[in-house]
Symmetry: D2
């Protein structure tokens, strides 16, 4: 029996860059968190400690900063593609790059250079590249989009086994924190910001407009809506915790509770995960890894 090296990758995670751009006295800022992972001819690095193939993670960090200066940061998808191609194309030992970017959004307060953070929600991009002209993928997304419906949600008709005590309901609170990632058909798309705004809009509106029979059904409707409306996308993956809101029993205090007072629980929570895709979606390769 021999012992061998399997899949591996390495890189610099969470380089926090704020890029300021001036147009006269009016400034714009981009606030991003960039994580780079590289793969390639890394056998010797692992087996003998010979680092001849290793571009230091410190150099990767420097590259992120230098590229922010040289190219600016427009859509995070473009910035990620630039970086990923750079590493593979400039380093003979690197055959694959993965770049993950998280973007925090800011609103203007007043004047040209003062800003306030918009909220907890984060825009994401995940780029894979084998180098310019090679296999590539772009997955865009968001995290922590917290939504709630105070009615318009049912849950019944489910399996009853010996451990089932849940009562069916035709009116409950439905709340979740959406993590969604959607795969683009092509990395040459370009309209990333418009695509992001569209996908986000359709997720929110499908959530609001679907009369829910389960979180699974809502998830599918949200995914379908995005794919129906955005031709540039071919697949979407959603992870939606069911943030339980339990109706409080007020009867001991002589009160009814007509879906008015809820206890928002922490754990445990339901967790619904699903993929929706078009039947002509190209192969995903490493897009989701």
């Amino acid at each position: 029996m021999g012992i061998v090296l399997g899949r591996n990758r390495y890189g610099k995670a969470e380089t926090r860059v704020v890029r300021v751009t001036r147009s006269g006295t009016r400034h714009a800022i981009k606030d991003v968190n960039v994580s780079v992972s590289l793969s390639g001819a890394m056998e010797d690095a692992h087996l003998t400690g010979d680092n001849a193939a290793v571009l230091p993670t410190d150099s990767q960090k420097n590259t992120v900063f230098a590229f922010a200066k040289k190219h600016g940061i427009e859509a995070i998808e473009d910035f990620g593609l630039l970086l990923a191609r750079h590493f593979v194309d400039s380093q003979p030992t690197i055959t694959h790059a993965r770049v993950e970017i998280r973007e925090y959004s800011w609103d203007r307060i007043t004047g040209g250079h003062s800003f306030v953070r918009t909220g907890g929600e984060v825009r994401t991009a995940l780029i894979h590249s084998d180098g310019d002209g090679g296999a590539e993928s772009v997955v865009s997304g968001l995290e922590d989009l917290v939504v709630l419906k105070s009615t318009g949600s049912e849950f019944h008709g489910f399996v009853q086994d010996e451990f089932t005590t849940l009562e069916p309901t035709d009116d409950r609170v439905l709340a979740t924190a959406v993590t969604a990632r959607w795969r683009h058909r092509s990395t040459g798309y370009g309209g990333w910001d418009d695509s992001y705004r569209g996908a986000r809009h359709h997720l929110l509106h499908a959530f609001a407009e679907t009369h829910s029979l389960s979180l699974q059904q809502t998830l599918f409707q949200m995914g379908r809506r995005v794919l129906d409306e955005r031709d540039e996308l071919c697949e979407i993956r959603l992870s939606m915790p069911n943030k339980h809101h339990f109706l409080v029993d007020l009867e001991p205090f002589g009160m009814d509770n007509d879906n008015e007072v809820y206890f928002a629980a922490d754990r445990p929570y339901g967790l619904i995960e699903g993929t929706v895709l078009t039947d002509d979606a190209p192969r995903a390769a490493s897009a989701w890894e």
Copy 2:
């Protein structure tokens, strides 16, 4: 030498209530986190384990839910006052109540009953009461209001000691996550929501409109603006971490960096804490505890 019981309090922390109110098919929601702390004749409870004076924390939690039903939740300051007075007035052994409420805000998506969480920022209220007619205080506030100026901030003229290596600057990024709490002159004010919106607005605008010579000076201007504009307030306390954004040295890569590319650091960070008050502010008693 004897060993004695000193100050003490007990209660139920972080009861998470979502209260739904209907107006036809249009719903409104209030999402709050309520922490109750009670004090009083608790010697026996501590010294002998006799619980005859102890209202269980479980009952406190039930009271929060029952009051949410009975009274609804309008301004969190009012809800806190209701609760605090109730505990002192209804329990002979309880002489003082402290109620702290955190409120998470939601925007409407579309239709009457679908909502999306607004952001990371939290509205707060801290109520102390010795019971109806007794000493009382209301402190309102906010947490995690994250703001940044991409210019209009200097820092120079400071002390130079043997450990000082910092270069003076006349142009830097200034960023902070504001925690602010402001004390009301009276608990009978009533216009809590208007007061909150006003204070928040003035904090943001004073931050944006102050040409900063230090975070201390900015803090004072923010506090002063709120007190200048809101007569119902007499004191404000601000805690403002200096979230350092360091200019990246790009010279090794043959690039200048004219305040364009910053590294957003985590730790250490500056921490500036200060109080601004009117010279006629009434005594605070336990308001801040």
Copy 3:
């Protein structure tokens, strides 16, 4: 173009169970966090909202509690296998179960029933099952095993590109928070606790005893050691952030710094991820998902 449902799973996450077992006046406790995910005939649930195939996540939670009573909780691997098989075997619509368990460890203080939490480190198990007699896998592991070497770590001989400014070093601090997961050859092994203690021991000792030429090389040595010593294992995956400790420049203060004073940085950090396996390792199927 049609839109279809892809891979999906659902379940109850993070059910927190504490199981007490008595042997006379001597108690033992098991403190675990159980997450269940089920897959199967879920097309209708997603497409039409028909829940006839859906075992509620609430019932899954109840099952965890009931099984904790009925079977006790010995090794988390066994408890996970019991649960996973139960769901597939008892539910016609469920064809695959995934159970993830995290265990928090406790030490005895004194006497038979008082305990203190051991630390931040967590023991993990990930079980997949197609039901009794079907395909199954057990992956055990740990998280947040934080280790540091104050010397015996070098890093040099790496690639120099235009963005490389890092100086080679033959003496640095090496620190990481190990997340390790190892795959068992068989689910019928049984000696889970012994296996866990062994794997943990070998990870620690390989870290301590390897003169490090890079974190990649250290990672491989750690993985190899575990597989060399534990025949019941066939594959190990390690994720090791390089928690950078930077030597502080004290020269401005007239002091040298002979590897004595370090600044422990937060972000960015290196991230080294790798797999080590035996060349006869059976196919992994869904073991790692």
Copy 4:
């Protein structure tokens, strides 16, 4: 009505230092997180932005590193006193210093220079100083000492009001995460490490050996034990969340639950806070701020 500056302080928070000390090939490490806050003649800094009295927080950070080199780090209480006195004594504009230190503990793995983090628990020190020879205080402590009793805990005889539904119990799980801070009679004590080990030991043993009638009673016993046994201490403050473990109702599944299966809840939780002190305790001044 005028608007004035009230209490204020500023400094550098969370400087993360790892100090290595060598004795031949045997190393020792100290891993600490140091937060400095200074107060003094800061009117101009706030009111006019004149920084002539301001020692930059960056210089404070440098001082922490330089002192770690020059003096080493033995007990965190001593290191805090050194720093606090230095700032007040060396800066004419600084009249008061507050230094807070958190220490993370490590165990040796094997050999002279490899370590593993001990756990989640943190040792703390809070030092106040008006300078060498002026008023000073040392408060030591710990955070996140998580303890649990699986029996030996009752709770009954409490107040019954209209919102009370809690059943009295003579056998429950009692669990808490202790935050404790204890004040030393003198800053000249010196035996800090011995004092810390003693206090921690007595907290644990008083928890284990007290038959609990309420968490308040347990808290008092823990505080009393520490003061009884450690003459160098005059006051202790404890904050103990009641981490509720609810007995799961297994009756629907035909099972009893004789205190065997518990659900560990997150929120809400009880929160018990109390002070125990000797009747001859000197005035605390700013010790706890």
